[in-house]
Symmetry: C2
Subunit: 544 residues, 2 copies
């Protein structure tokens, strides 16, 4: 730190755009400046860390300090539903209450906001203040007449009951206030009403204790940054996972699947505020959504099921428009989800967007091709292949995928071979491509063409050393498996001659390839290592 501090935070950020400490230094400076000169910085900040509630809050509060209410409100709109950060929501409610609470015509809007807040962040362990403020707000409303008074009491009681059923810090104060509230409403009924609740309340307190224990060590203020695989990071992941498992166990013993689910989903959301670059957490949350939808459907709760299903799409969109933008895995998962719901247009658009935005669209093309084949058949999928082939950014894999589709789906090895041949003109020097072609020919038992293609490649004047070695190895494999004595001898000899440069005098390396079979090796692994034989660990990519 002492060393880093002599470099300006701007330089540090240039060097590492995720240097949170440096950003925090700049934030401190900016918050002392007039908002008009700080705004550019804040925009950079929330662009770099779009799910950091703390940064949004700092930005908005700066606007509020300058009384730029329109700007602040526009900012709240940009972040409040994307970033379920408890302090941000508290700040939002505080702003609304102050600016709108006294305007009678606005009261409905403020009440709606409280309801929304309870729906969105009301399960938070730090949500007590929100309930208390809401109750205060409802209490402050002047009710005209008995009917209105009764409605007011019902509304307040509803919030109290929701609050005392939620494990939150400070729940004792709310409980006490609730008891007082019931007494103030009807001293005779109060005792019975409170007594009915007290057992549940005790259980909620017990759950709260467990949660407090589980949340010890969780850093909820941590900003999402790309994983670096540190121990501290892993520790946070483990702690969050434990908390999620705990919520999945339904500690509140709720009969309502929806309630349990909302708490679990809220926990995932909270984890993702700090672990937003972890694709697996996003996906696990989506899988949990789907699981709950199935469970709800089974129980006949179609409405909640539909709501959560819609949430699933939103979750994916949130991920892929945010921190998972550059992680195709989650885009694919999203497309797959939409496909499974029959929303083919949305799925297609997801693939297309990914193809457009990616430097290397090859895998996206292949997945789109698979998808189109599934829903429209091979003829339509061929068009995707044509499109991919014409895209200069595409890599050789597209030819393999196209050929394999023809071979395995249409069972036409001739078309497949033509595609490979076409690809070979372009990618003749790419070992993986050549190998895939050779494998294909060998698998369809076309020895002559296998030999032909290998020899064609070996004769090519600009063949790379790597490909040369690979091709000679394949040639030797082929002759070992099917060749007669003369052709084996010929290839063995030619291979040695050709590879002498690469292997020098280390002839034993050639030998290992001659006498291996699958994972059977002709000498011990130690011996091979000592010889410098390194193919055991080499990733063998096959067209399987």
């Amino acid at each position: 730190m002492s060393n880093a501090s002599v470099i300006s935070p701007e330089r540090r950020i240039e060097f590492n755009a995720f240097d949170v400490d440096a950003w925090n230094l700049l934030l401190r400076e900016s918050s002392a400046r007039p908002i008009d000169t700080a705004r550019i910085f804040y925009e950079k900040l929330v662009t770099q860390f779009p799910n950091a509630g703390r940064y949004w809050k700092a930005y908005i509060e700066h606007e509020l300090r300058a009384k730029n209410y329109d700007k602040a409100e526009a900012l709240f709109e940009r972040c409040i539903f994307q970033v379920l950060h408890i302090d941000l929501w508290k700040s939002y409610l505080h702003y609304l209450k102050l600016s709108k609470g006294h305007i009678i015509s606005m009261r409905e809007k403020v009440a709606d906001a409280f309801e929304l807040a309870i729906d969105r962040v009301g399960h938070d362990i730090q949500a007590a203040q929100i309930y208390q403020d809401y109750i205060q707000f409802l209490t402050d409303v002047e009710a005209q007449g008995q009917y209105a008074e009764n409605q007011k009491v019902s509304a307040i009681r509803k919030v109290y009951l929701r609050a005392v059923a939620t494990p939150m810090l400070n729940i004792e104060t709310i409980w006490q206030a609730y008891c007082d509230f019931e007494k103030s409403v009807n001293i005779n009924l109060a005792e019975k009403l409170v007594a009915d609740r007290v057992k549940d309340y005790q259980h909620v307190k017990k759950v709260l204790k467990q949660m407090e224990l589980l949340m010890q060590g969780i850093n909820r203020q941590a900003i999402s940054v790309p994983p670096r695989g540190t121990q501290a990071e892993q520790k946070q992941i483990d702690l969050w996972r434990k908390l999620i498992v705990f919520e999945k166990s339904n500690p509140l013993r709720s009969d309502e699947v929806g309630l349990k689910a909302k708490r679990v989903i809220y926990t995932y959301d909270q984890a993702l505020l700090s672990l937003g670059y972890h694709a697996d957490i996003w996906y696990e949350s989506a899988v949990y959504h789907e699981k709950i939808v199935a469970e709800l459907r089974e129980r006949g709760d179609m409405k909640t099921a539909e709501t959560i299903e819609r949430e699933t799409s939103k979750l994916y969109s949130r991920a892929t428009s945010g921190l998972m933008r550059n992680t195709p895995l989650i885009h694919f998962a999203h497309a797959d989800f939409e496909e499974s719901k029959g929303r083919y247009d949305i799925a297609t658009k997801i693939y297309d967007d990914l193809i457009e935005s990616n430097d290397d669209p090859t895998l996206a093309y292949i997945m789109l091709m698979n998808f189109i084949r599934r829903i429209k058949g091979v003829r339509a999928a061929r068009k995707v292949f044509e499109r991919a082939r014409g895209d200069k950014r595409s890599k050789f894999h597209i030819y393999i995928a196209g050929a394999m589709m023809e071979f395995h789906c249409i069972k036409d090895s001739n078309i497949a071979q033509k595609i490979f041949d076409y690809g070979l003109k372009k990618y003749g020097n790419v070992p993986e491509f050549a190998t895939a072609y050779i494998d294909f020919l060998y698998h369809v038992n076309d020895e002559n063409n296998t030999r032909g293609v290998i020899e064609r490649l070996l004769e090519s004047p600009d063949i790379s050393n790597e490909l040369k070695i690979e091709m000679w190895d394949r040639y030797l494999d082929l002759e070992t498996q099917v060749g007669d004595a003369a052709s084996l001898r010929k290839v063995d000899h030619a291979r040695r001659q050709a590879l002498n440069e690469a292997y020098d005098d280390r002839q034993a390396l050639f030998l290992v390839d001659r006498f291996k079979f699958l994972n059977l090796w002709p000498c011990s692994e130690d011996q091979m290592k000592l010889m410098g034989y390194n193919k055991i660990s080499r990733l063998s990519s096959t067209t399987g």
Copy 2:
């Protein structure tokens, strides 16, 4: 060492049979004991280190000290041609000279032994003593008459000339003696004879200097032990390799290929005394033999070519009956060498011996099958397959090899499938076997059977977890490549259900498999590592 010394050498050897220091301690003890009680130890010693000249020498000299000449001679016979160790040969010659040199009838035999020694170890940098002793021995012979006298002079001169042409320590003494010798023969001719030689002699001295430099650091007394991959070991290998490269460069500028070759081969032999567990050095020596044979044939020197070719077979036999006994690679190389010379019976015997002596003869069977197919065709090779199948020690690979032979050599996928099916009954729970079968079916475009076999395996009640995962992965691959939407969905779902136990909630791991293609991955390697996805580095063994 201080720690090790409290443990008895016997215990240390029990723990590590190659603890040379411990053996040396026992050797010192044994050499002080009467030979009759020490013999058992010596036999153990030379059994454990069969190519250690130093140990043979100690054993024999102990017998000699006890005047057990017959025993000593029998021991010399056991080792002298296998172990070209200069001190052992010196000891042998010393013994012969002392015990037989004075018996006139034995003189011929002693002279032969000197000739043999010069042929076998006469290129050694420490061979000077042998030449000197030989010359002394020849000088001591009393010649009767002028003809005999002339013959004697010729014989002595021949040895001198050979000696002064060999870079050896102490060569100056021999050179001086040679000059004196010529002067004593004919003072008039001596000057001319010596002058003719002096340039070559100067060059030999230069080569000697280079050799001395190259041999600095080489530990010629090191006993062969299995490699442990230490730096010291690697250093020795590097030094020996440099010396071999030097000899290959023909530093003596000999026109005679045979002479250069003999020096190189002798250097290999010397290296192998210390590096006898290094398969690559054995093989490189054999390859060098073959290269020289080809060169000699090209030059028309058929006789030397034949000699060296015979030496190649002997070299292989020496390796496979000695330290390479448990290294199939060298057995295979030997069989291959004999096959290339058309000596099919010898090749067959090598394979058979290896099959007999090995705990796991599978690879040997497969190589024998390939060999028999090459020389006799598939029908004969099938018999090897049958034999291997009946051998209880064989592993599943034999079925794959058998099936692949039918498929690729006979082009009969039905027979191949039958063999796989037969194997499946026995090896249904071996992931590699099941995978190979699935790959085969998929490559021949037999989707239905692919699905059928996968499902059959998945339904098996005693399926291992590893196989279950592998089969579900294959199933998913299959449906991703050829399945329609419904079957993909079905398999994806079933796979998740089935593997939930193995993967728990880590659902993202399933996802990676859905959206990968060859070496294209749907997220970064770092991300996969963090998720715990480990297939990238997993060795994928295919039936290629």
